[in-house]
Amino acid sequence: MGAYIARRVLALIPLLIIVSFIVFSLSQLLPGDPARVIAGGQKATPEGIAKAREELHLNKPFIQQYGIWLGNAARGDLGTSFFDHETVAQSIAQRFPVTLSLALGALVLTILIGLPLGILAAVRQGSFVDRMVTASSSVALAMPDFWLGMILLLIFAVNLQVLPSRGYIPLTDSPAGWATHLYLPWIAMGVPGGAGLARQVRGAMIDALEQDYVRTAESKGLRRRLVVFKHALKNASLAPVTVLGIGFAYMLGGSVIIEQIFTLNGMGRYFYLALFNKDLPVIQGVVLLSALIFVVLNLAVDIFYAYLNPKVRLG
């Protein structure tokens, strides 16, 4: 197991180098001169620009700039925002609890919707229930999360006025307030997510239920419930767990439009404002962090799976 983990971690090094290089290269897409922006835009003096250029290492070769940036990033220094002049790492840390609350709730809801429906559809394959699950998941998958968010906002916040439409209350201030402000965004993200998961689980379970060990278990006279949940579900979990891990990682990177619609001050909104200001350090910081979250979660899923399945670990 230790050897497997070591092998997987070592394999991440080239990946992280390419990822960080792509993130750093985003600077090349930026039109205009960042040094001029820092030095005050239109009213920048040549001396001011030269000074900013020096501070940003812009007069060094590209590769050297990348090296300096990567070295800083590895120490947790993602630079300073061009606009509010706060460090990017600190600003992200302040906003991360919002995004984490959003993503965790959405993940729980995705599982609560997708897992039972997927199992039910697979166990009763071809039945009315199965057809209903398949049809409704088709419709739910055609709803982008921001689309659903807006419809929910329209119904529950504007028309029925039973839930607040915007803002965030920290969990530590008021758990009830925290939840009521997040119900709608959770549903907006959880329903399409749950529909996707239901399809995954259904497909994987149908495959697993056709395997020999399931037939053996059934012919031994084991209860159906035990066969479905212990034998089939365990073996069917690889693809769905991988997909859930990917989805959760992406959500932790910040759900830009959802946070914008519900005025949640998380990483997504921070990123959105930075996009409009062309605030390069913030853009690079958020993109790099979201990629790192993906890499770490993916590694965790792989290790978890190797732990469950010796074939993965030794293969």
Binding site: A142, M143, P144, M150, A239, F271, A291
Partner: protein, 311 residues
């Protein structure tokens, strides 16, 4: 798992024999595609999707003819649905909503076609090279695709689109990049599977060149999963365009887009709720239609779980 795709055309088994009997002798070569076509035509959900898709494409193509008014404001703001001369009413600055909806289809279809064209062409080149030639080139391509896969799709598309400057072409480019890694993986795994087939070994043993091998033996077996992925990518691209335009990173102002219409509807949600409905319905219908076509194609091509690695 989904990584192992069987070549669709080969996987088609003789159990379909009755269908074969109806095919005239001269068309034997076209048999597998004919069977796919037949299965697709008998799938009512997929056919419904196809009808909507065709209508959408026609709407986009003939927008100037179909639109009831010009795109300019008509100076009668906030009319409700069913107003005389303005079937779907007007928005806050007095633009006819039906006209905007029709021109919005143009933006949507433009982005979707551009995204799918760019993404599949790039992915075909990268996926075929990686799968067929392998080696250090394949290694580099695979690592780069893994790296692209680590970025949340919308985050990367937004960053690229914002830095390049908001325009429909830039938005398409940004969304296309998001699709490439998933498509490359699908193509690569398909190529790897085909490479193990006996007919490839046979072709190689009689000295068929790489070029001919790619064209005649590998490519045809890669086409069907790519078609399925492309159809599903259309739906996703429509949603992504709406999202980017909603955030102001898609079309530039006078151009109509369903995403911009949603944005306008969102901004005046507290005063009037009607303007949100037409673009919302259009987006849902369009994505659903492309997804139904994609699902139908996947089932007709004889495969069940191909989208596992999709974006």
């Amino acid at each position: 798992m989904s990584m192992e795709f069987e070549p669709a055309v080969l996987a088609d088994e003789i159990t379909d024999a009755p269908v074969q009997l109806e095919i005239p002798m001269g068309e034997v070569g076209a048999t597998p595609w004919r069977r796919v076509f037949r299965r697709f035509v008998h799938n009512w959900a997929a056919m419904t999707g196809l009808v909507i898709v065709v209508l959408l494409v026609l709407t986009a193509l003939f927008a100037p003819v179909l639109a009831p008014t010009t795109q300019a404001p008509v100076f009668k703001p906030n009319l409700g649905p069913g107003s005389p001369g303005h079937l779907l009413g007007t928005n806050a600055i007095g633009r006819d909503l039906l006209t905007r909806l029709i021109y919005g289809a143009q933006s949507s279809m433009f982005v979707a076609f551009l995204v799918v064209t760019i993404a599949t062409s790039v992915a075909l080149v990268l996926g075929l090279s990686s799968g067929f030639f392998g080696g250090w080139l394949g290694g580099i391509i695979d690592r780069c695709m893994d790296a692209l896969f680590t970025f949340p799709p919308l985050t990367l598309a937004l960053a690229i689109s914002a830095l390049l400057g908001a325009s429909l072409t830039n938005a398409s480019l940004a969304i296309a990049i998001v699709f490439v890694p998933g498509l490359v993986r699908v193509i690569r795994s398909q190529v790897l599977a085909v490479r193990e087939e006996t007919f490839v070994e046979a072709a190689r043993s009689v000295g068929v060149s790489d070029n001919r091998m790619l064209r005649k033996h590998v490519f045809p077996n890669v086409v069907s999963p790519v078609i399925v992925q492309a159809a599903l990518a259309f739906g996703y691209a429509i949603g992504a365009e709406a999202g980017l335009s909603f955030l102001g990173l898609g079309v530039s102002p006078p151009t109509a887009s369903w995403g911009v219409m949603l944005q306008e509807g969102y901004n005046q949600m507290l005063e009037t709720q009607w303007p949100l409905i037409p673009p919302a319905v259009a987006i849902l219908l369009a994505i659903l239609a492309f997804n139904l076509v994609g699902d139908g194609l996947r089932d007709s091509l004889g495969r069940e779980r191909i989208s596992v690695d999709g974006p």
